[in-house]
Amino acid sequence: MTGIFFCTVKLLRKDLIIETRRAELTVMSLMSVIGLSIILSYGVWLAGISQSQKMELAPALSLSVLFMAALSVIGKFSEYDEKSGALDGLLVAKVSSDALYLARVAAIFLLTSIAAFASGLVLPTLLGLVPSLLLSWHGALVFCGVSLGLASVGATLAPIAVRVRAGSIFLLTLMLPLVIPLFFASCEILSGNPSTRDFWWTLLAALDAVYLAAGLWLHPHVVR
């Protein structure tokens, strides 16, 4: 167990070092957040939606922006692995598949959290709202739950997407049905009926647990 832990930390450190040197993923996800936020908030402005409706709409729009930003991050990580056969090198060296998966989940989670923070800040501001979600523990926890689910699913499916035709589009196709329940649960928690909030929290937690556990078991089957 400790062996897997230290291996996971080493692999996570590797992803973070690469990211600090390239800065590609952070810039890409932040630009996605900013670009999408501008487009969506312009659409909301054009529709002439009232302030109270904007407050109801803001969480769902923030989560959409987060999802699109996360997609770009998830796909790129697997491309790094495939480039120059780096993942093959780790597999030949018998690096633990569990450690590979957990480290990748952690790396995607960290970068997605940055995108979540940005989307929670930028989009409400462009809508003319106070980014209150960002300032609340409630909102932060929901974004963490969604990010963890996205990371778990993404870490499992990205190695598939990178090895099929039209891989960048395919990641969206594969992730969409698994991410929609996460998305709905989060939106219902943030702006749905308060009486059903407990149910949606349970669903969000259950989905995160299922995706993480299943991903851990399935990951060796998607890497060579």
């Binding site: 049905p177 698994l178 149910f199």
Partner: protein, 235 residues
């Protein structure tokens, strides 16, 4: 020792001709069963008081839903079987289950939308978690079928098995969790549990059609699995 799965499955041999009479008998039996269910739906069952003749779509809708769940169960078995045993038979099963599941899930969605339009004047609503969970299931099947076509031949089986497991275990989480939601505000009727089928003819038609459609789905899976196995041998 690393023994490749192709070698392990070479004992499948030629198409077993002795099962053709069995297949023919089963097909004929199911054909009669389905025909009988149609007879019940269109000639025996009276018009429902509120909705009239449109209500008859309920039998196809619910039966197709059961057939979809049966296909999902086969998908899970095929996917798990392939991942653990690396057997091409299980790969053929998951391939067949994905395609048949897509067919019946499409029927569920379409019939549901037709019924919803006439009952509530709205074909689709995000207010209704059952509709949404069926849509998610439909997207799962679409992704599986497309993945099979887009992946390289050597990778397709493993990839589809992984995605099949993820999708199949998601289904009970989403579908059954809906039961814990308050029914207030939901559009989808819970007919059978709330004693909606009081007429005996309704109940008979309901269970006969459910059985017929599930049997039809399993027959399609069996046939498609056979075709997939033959295609694999010919390659």
């Amino acid at each position: 020792m690393m023994e490749n799965e192709n070698l392990a499955d070479s004992k499948s041999g030629s198409p077993d001709s002795f099962s053709l009479p069995v297949f023919t008998c089963v097909t004929l039996f199911i054909a009669v069963w389905v025909t009988y269910s149609q007879y019940l739906i269109f000639t025996v069952v009276p018009n429902e008081v509120t909705m009239g003749a449109v209500q008859r779509i309920f039998y196809f809708h619910v039966g197709s839903a059961f057939a979809t769940y049966a296909a999902t169960a086969c998908l899970l078995v095929g996917s798990l079987g392939f991942l653990t045993l690396k057997s091409k038979n299980f790969d053929a099963l998951q391939l067949a289950a994905a395609e048949v599941g897509l067919l019946f899930c499409s029927i569920v969605l379409l019939t549901g939308m037709i019924w919803a339009q006439s009952a509530w004047n709205i074909a689709f609503s995000f207010k209704e978690p059952r509709l949404v969970s069926t849509l998610v299931l439909w997207l799962l099947f679409v992704a599986l079928v497309v993945l099979r076509k887009f992946a390289a031949r050597s990778d397709a089986a493993s990839f589809c098995a992984v995605f099949g497991v993820l999708g199949a275990i998601l289904v009970p989480v989403v579908v059954y969790s809906v039961k814990f939601l308050s029914p207030v505000g939901q559009l989808h009727p819970v007919v059978v549990e709330h004693d909606g089928l009081r007429e005996a003819s309704f109940r008979v038609a309901f269970w006969v059609t459910n059985g017929a459609l599930v049997a039809m789905a399993l027959l399609f899976i069996w046939l498609r699995k056979k075709i997939a196995s033959l295609e694999e041998k010919n390659l």
